[in-house]
């Protein structure tokens, strides 16, 4: 599991659970992509530009619950 933190959100992608369906990529293509192993990865700079509710679409739609998105701690 690799955790990355960034304001205004903390995004966790569980690479054990990720099955590379790419639904997060379809939901928020400016922020999520798949790496060479077909695992989800996040662009934190882009994530900072996207409203939290929109980001949470990726969390919500992931069929294996691999993505967690929370407001960053101050």
């Amino acid at each position: 599991m690799g955790e990355v933190r960034h304001r205004p959100v903390a995004i966790t992608i569980d690479h054990v659970a990720c099955e590379g369906t790419g639904l997060c990529v379809s939901a928020v293509p400016s922020v999520f992509s798949l790496n060479d192993d077909n695992l989800a990865q996040v662009d934190l700079d882009q994530a900072a530009e996207v409203p939290l509710d929109e980001l949470r679409e990726a969390e919500f739609i992931c069929p294996t619950m691999a993505i967690t998105i929370q407001p960053a701690e101050s």
């Binding site: 054990v16 659970a17 790419g22």
Partner: protein, 436 residues
């Protein structure tokens, strides 16, 4: 040598389709965003039963539908169905078998209809049908789902005479009148009460009909909901229903050759390995069809042109020796221990990519890989619960009545009849009744 790509092939109602057979190529197509579902477009005869549904949608429409149904498949819901859905339904069905058995006789039955009844009762809960109670209602429900299924899988029937679109349409009408209307009315009242503030959201049923009614984008289109339910019922019931006899058959052969595993047939680990292999060896769909929207070079080096119609032959990919080893054609419940993380133990039987079967976790449960640290790794899905209950009831292939395959009028790999005996059903039934 496996022919990875062949052109000029045909399915019923789809001409000039390219067959793709390699695991890597199929996985690539399924994960690519430059292929869209062909279903819903071709075959034309199948359109009334699938066009516009989540299975046939692409892009933002597909995402919107996935989002609508996603709450049904959270870990919380899987726990709920494990405790309140699967097990009680399985117990009820097996008790019916026990009740039909005369004193002194060994309980027996046909695993094909028993499996169908089991999965239909579970699926009815998920859809939100209240009236599928009792053997007669379940039998009528099964008939309706089966006939709608012919319409939406018309391409896999060898002889179009076996598929009468009017028959499937009549079944759609029966579904609407007999099972949908009353369940819909009840949920419309509940949703209205919720919107008026008379009840809390937590008091609403959690099923497909209710989620549809809560979604302002779709809730006016109840015809579309009926079509969506027809697809969901077939996808959810046929996958598991077709697999149950295969699993029992393979386990019987395995324990005959490996008697040291005879006592493992109720353990999750053993069942997960056995179920995976059965799903891999008997793909639940003959093919998944797609249309290329761009010229694409596949991992094998073969090229698909823009506009090309593609059929992804799952059975071939599931037996790919490059992925599963030289013994890929054999059943080995311990293969699950040896596969790399990127390879699903059930192979491509639930698809891959954005159109991965939305109900897969409901069927299989959580992450099955042995070294998994995933939070849901101990969660068993409906198929594990079903198989465990069947083995607790002592299911065995019938010693005197051989199984029978369908006679070849479809591309499906399924039994028409699989007679079994239940050697310990009496003890199972006694324990179940005592726990009520």
């Amino acid at each position: 040598m496996l022919e990875l790509v062949s052109r000029g092939e045909a399915f019923g109602g789809i001409d000039d389709v390219t067959f793709v057979r390699g695991h890597a190529d199929i996985d690539h197509v399924l994960r690519s965003q430059t292929f869209v579902p062909l279903k819903g477009d071709e075959p034309v005869a199948g359109r009334p039963f699938i066009t516009g549904t989540m299975a046939a949608a692409a892009g933002s429409e597909h995402i919107a539908k996935r989002r609508l149904f996603a709450p049904l498949f959270t870990s919380e819901m899987l726990h709920y169905f494990q405790d309140h859905g699967s097990r009680p339904v399985i117990t009820e069905t097996l008790l019916e078998v026990a009740d039909r058995t005369a004193d002194g006789d060994t309980p027996e039955g046909d695993l094909v209809p028993i499996g169908i009844v089991l999965v239909h009762r579970i699926a009815a809960q998920i859809v939100g049908f209240d009236g599928v109670v009792g053997e007669d209602a379940v039998a009528r429900f099964n008939s309706v789902v089966d006939r709608i299924g012919k319409g939406l899988t018309v391409e896999f029937f060898h002889d179009p005479e076996h598929v009468i679109p009017a028959e499937a349409r009549a079944a759609q009408d029966q579904l609407r009148e007999e099972f949908f209307a009353a369940s819909l009315a009840r949920r419309q009242d509940l949703v209205a009460a919720y919107r008026a503030g008379r009840i809390e959201k937590a008091e609403l049923p959690r099923d497909i009909i209710t989620f549809w009614l809560l979604d302002d984008r779709y809730n006016d289109d109840l015809d579309a909901l009926v079509v969506e339910i027809g697809v969901f019922l077939n996808a959810s019931t046929r996958t598991t229903g077709r697999s149950i006899p295969h699993i029992v058959h393979h386990i019987a052969q395995w324990v005959a050759e490996h008697p040291e595993d005879r006592d493992k047939t109720t353990s999750s680990d053993f069942l997960r390995g056995a179920i995976s292999e059965s799903l891999r060896l008997h793909a639940v769909l003959p093919a998944i069809t797609r249309r290329a929207t761009e010229r694409t070079v596949l991992p094998s080096g073969n090229v698909l042109e823009a506009g090309e119609k593609v059929a992804l032959i799952l059975q071939a990919a599931n037996l790919d020796t490059e992925i599963y080893g030289e013994d890929a054609h054999e059943f080995n419940p311990y293969r699950i221990d040896t596969l790399p993380k990127k390879i699903a133990p059930w192979a491509l039987s639930f698809g891959a990519g954005a159109h991965t079967c939305i109900g897969r976790r409901l069927v299989t449960g959580g992450d099955w890989r042995r070294e998994s640290t995933a939070s849901d790794k101990d969660l068993d899905g409906s198929i594990v619960a079903i198989m465990r209950a069947l083995y607790e009831a002592g299911v065995r292939p019938h010693p005197d009545k051989p199984p029978r395959f369908y006679d070849g009028f479809t591309d499906y790999d399924e039994y028409a009849s699989y007679p079994v005996v239940f050697e310990t059903l009496g003890a199972f039934a006694d324990a179940a009744r005592a726990s009520v």
